[in-house]
Symmetry: C2
Subunit: 587 residues, 2 copies
């Protein structure tokens, strides 16, 4: 195998075209083997094997600098830059991350996991080079799906003014995670159909020179094109037409399903472990919303390129019809459009990952909350135990959202409460609402549904009345609160008061005052970072009183590929540790 002898890009340059093609086959085989056993991004990587080989054949990394957008298509790059072991040996599969990672290799320049950032980051590398008088090539590699994000546009706009070497490779596989959405994609189609010759050309309109490669999975064609733009002294776009999932039939045919996959059976393309029977908040949400849409023509579900987060499979999107909108990867647009829809009398429901709502802070604040329009945002995968790549942590949505005026941020503790809250949020017209969808699996509680949360605004629910200790257990940490309360009873005979605060964005002053009777300690439990979060508001409230407050949550830090148990231990978030810390304070 050629791949065994590739320890760095220099080894790629020694091979003939025929050998490079064989190298591509070998790499594809390794990718399919690893991904089918380990899971990961399938389609994006399979489609980029040839282009990555061509890049390393033509350019001189790490002197020439390559920045991969999202970097979930950088596996082939990792294989060619001294990290192939992690794709060959099952024992070593976890030695590399699923994204570009400077700590692994000098060929990676940034930790990247959110989309649409490569051109902007690369423009900075190019500017630094120009300040130093350097001459290396700077290359941003971006997928067509990532082009829908505003930051990519801002980067293109500024990159065009560099007037020095600046290369943008657009990997056009005609897909985002799901299908592409937006007017831009008509132009990409026109460019493909005319083999890049159409006069009306988005990239030329943005100030770029332009080159097109019709077969972006043909190593020879790619090398020829890249040789033409190497060392070019102005901004240029190389538009390559690739096939997502190339070389693995199931991935070619089911592009959305194979964007990212759990371990799968290579022959059938089916997941090795079928989790589809496990109830799931996303799946539930799509079913709920589609039912509601039938008698509410004003209800419309919005996604920013990640329809699966709230269960909108291709079939369901079809069923929802014009009551479903995918913006492509464009969270800012999603939030602002939601505000506009709500203003116009529609009822928008934006489903979004905790880690991606970060991309729309200003829109939540300005476009939505200053205007007080009654849109609903469903924030999924918020919590410590959701995604564990440093770029995808669900730790930060509470501080991000709960400090924005006018926004009601709710934390249901079980599916019954989720339904109750969603049902109210869809009917009400008073204010913008966000719901932090529980991330600890579907839990059930015997609760009385609340018809109107506006009537109980910022009123917490006391679920057990006790004394000495009161536990304010937020959202998906409610069950942890129950366990701690149980343990306090079992071990120390303390009947703790247990509280479901329901509202992340408000403090129930009346209840907190009441707790001063018969309680010495209030514990807050929140499934996220402590800094700027929910617990600190309770600590501030009691700051001038004798009440002791212990805030439990995660330390402010970026953690990567962590073990959840260790993270909880490290933050003293196990039941045992919380009980221990309580008793230490009560001493």
């Amino acid at each position: 195998m050629y791949i065994e002898n590739v320890n760095s890009p220099a080894d790629v340059k020694k091979l003939s075209i025929g050998q490079l093609e064989q190298l591509a086959d070998e790499m594809r085989g390794l990718l399919i083997r690893k991904l089918s056993n380990h899971g990961g991004h399938v389609g994006p990587n399979l489609g980029m094997v040839e282009a990555t080989i061509a890049i390393h054949y033509v350019f001189n990394s790490p002197v020439d600098k390559i920045v991969f957008d999202v970097s979930h298509q950088s596996y082939a790059h990792k294989m060619l830059t001294g990290r192939c072991e992690a794709f060959m040996k099952p024992d070593a599969y976890d030695r590399v991350s699923g994204y570009s990672e400077p700590s692994e290799s000098e060929h990676d320049h940034f930790v990247i996991g959110h989309t649409s950032t490569s051109i902007s980051l690369a423009s900075g590398l190019a500017k630094a080079r120009d300040l130093h008088g350097g001459h290396e090539n700077v290359i941003a590699v971006i997928g067509d799906g990532s082009l829908s994000g505003g930051e990519a546009f801002e980067g293109l706009n500024v990159g065009a003014e560099l007037r020095t070497n600046f290369i943008v490779i657009v990997n056009d596989n005609q897909m985002s995670i799901a299908e592409n959405h937006g007017g831009l994609y008509q132009n990409l189609q026109l460019l493909r159909e005319t083999e890049g010759k159409a006069e009306c050309n988005f990239f030329r309109a943005m100030g770029y020179d332009y080159l097109y490669v019709a077969d972006g999975n043909n190593v020879a064609e790619l090398i020829e094109a890249m040789q033409r733009i190497k060392d070019i002294y102005h901004p240029v776009v190389l538009h390559i037409n690739t096939l997502k999932g190339y070389g693995y039939r199931h991935a070619e045919e089911q592009k959305e399903r194979f964007h990212w996959s759990m371990p799968f059976d290579v022959e059938s393309g089916k997941d090795k472990v079928d989790l589809s029977h496990i109830p799931d908040y996303g799946d539930f949400t799509a079913r709920y919303l589609i039912d509601e849409m039938k008698h509410r023509p004003e209800l419309v579900a919005l996604t920013a390129g990640t329809p699966a987060v709230f269960g909108f499979t291709p079939d369901r999107r079809k069923e929802a019809g014009s009551q479903f909108i995918d913006m492509g990867i464009a969270e800012e647009q999603a939030v602002a459009m939601a505000s506009g829809i709500a203003k116009g009398g529609g009822k928008p429901v934006f489903g979004v990952y905790s880690t991606f709502i970060q991309r729309a802070y200003d829109q939540v604040s300005q476009d939505l909350c200053i205007n007080g329009n009654p849109a609903l945002m469903l924030v999924f995968w918020g919590g410590l135990g959701t995604m564990n790549d440093v770029t995808h942590l669900g730790f930060f949505d509470i501080p991000l959202l709960c400090n924005i005026p006018n926004l009601v941020y709710l934390a249901p503790t079980c599916i019954e409460e989720y339904i109750s809250m969603m049902s109210w949020a869809i009917c009400q017209t008073a204010c913008p609402v966000a719901i932090r969808v529980p991330s600890n699996g579907i839990q059930h509680r015997d609760i009385a549904p609340v018809a109107d949360y506006a009537q109980v605004m910022n009123q917490y629910e006391v679920t057990r009345r006790g004394s000495r200790i009161a536990m304010v257990a937020l959202g998906s940490f409610y069950q942890l609160g129950e366990e701690v309360a149980d343990r306090l009873g079992e071990l120390f005979g303390i009947e703790a008061t247990l509280i479901n605060p329901r509202f992340i964005s408000g403090v129930d002053g009346t209840l907190l005052e009441e707790l001063k009777q018969g309680h010495e300690l209030v514990i807050t439990l929140e499934d996220g970072v402590l800094d700027g979060g929910f617990g600190e508001k309770i600590a501030r409230y009691y700051g001038t009183s004798d009440m002791k407050v212990l805030c439990k949550g995660a330390r402010k830090e970026f953690v990567d590929r962590f073990d959840l148990k260790e993270l909880l231990l490290d933050n003293r978030l196990t039941v045992e540790q919380i009980v221990e810390d309580c008793m230490e304070i009560l001493k």
Copy 2:
């Protein structure tokens, strides 16, 4: 005067072209009179008079919905929609805001003050209309300068897919606040030069039908064009070429100076009150950075379309040459590019308003802080007393930035400390740094400069050692802390300990422990919103101890055109109130 008889758009429709031209002259006269006496956005409004008249002549507001981007060009719109009094009578000048404001009129649909949002918001109105089966026109009016922001692109991209009536009027006055930057502007120039006939057309590439008006200050031409696109049943861009500042010679000639102006003398165009001799942090910063640039070729100043915020006048931008970059209005790009420059060995310094750094949360977190690249951000106009329009509050940067891991957020208390911090931040290569530039005027303190803030990371400075009360007075509230301490001494003989925390993003546990000796109460003072901010971290720290903590800052709320004194009173932030609240706790 015709304007006196225009009480609603219906009255505009009754006039002949000749009368509309006279109306435009009258409106321009009123605008110049009001703005020269009152201050406000001059150039953007003068350039849009004819287009606004044409819009109201052709379309049927408020059934047809017009959304003005940034809305600082909506004065003419206000004059034609029943609010002319506020432009005619000096007593009534303050009856309308400087931005669109639904509470003033049914012709305004959103409170808007940040750029690049109109297309996204309007796309929501259009979608709501389609869900309801309505037929009204939805019109976004956006300046060429605002097109550089990513949200505008995201909106254009999605708007193109609506496939129903969706009208975008691009008011191309060839200016942002300062000159435009970005590759896109070459295309706009090409379109102007070819009278809209160039084949390579950004808007067509984005999926829009397209129409061009060469003289965007000619009412007849504008009306004709708008009549052609009224009720059109697909997305269309109407590109109008206007003159910023049209009809007032000084504004036409000095476009950047007259984008927004304090009251000015109409004859000379000079500010009525010359404030240029008052020392100012922005001016100081540009001078400092330009001096440093001379011996640091790697130093580069970045702005996102607001160079004046840190003193980069046109002359200074010229002097800085390639060491100054304006991205246009594109904060996401600015932060990501800064990260790239820092990674490449350059030293980027991004100067930004508090209210606009909000537009780049995800880039600060992902592109910059996860990567730990040593860029510097200078955050200006953070604080309660800076801007008082609801869309431009400087209240939120502390919660936004201080909870992001890896970012060192510093709060100097005087110019000497600002220099010390900036000087360190420019030299160090360990971490991303932001500095909250004081907003309470240039204050002086006799401090020992700190050569290396990394050596004293998160260590607070004790400036007065006392007992009973310790005051942690952050940044531009340090002087308030001094006053409170003085008053406590004068009135009650309490020698309070006074602390300059320096670090917004960290807690000095060692010092806070020490304070437990001899102190009963810690007061935190911060010039911003309390929720998610600095003080709450101190409250959390002391939550399990006997120390009382009183956090002083502003309540979480959006306030508009407030009186600062009243706001401070309302939040119990006067010296007297703080002293009173302290003594109440000590009782």
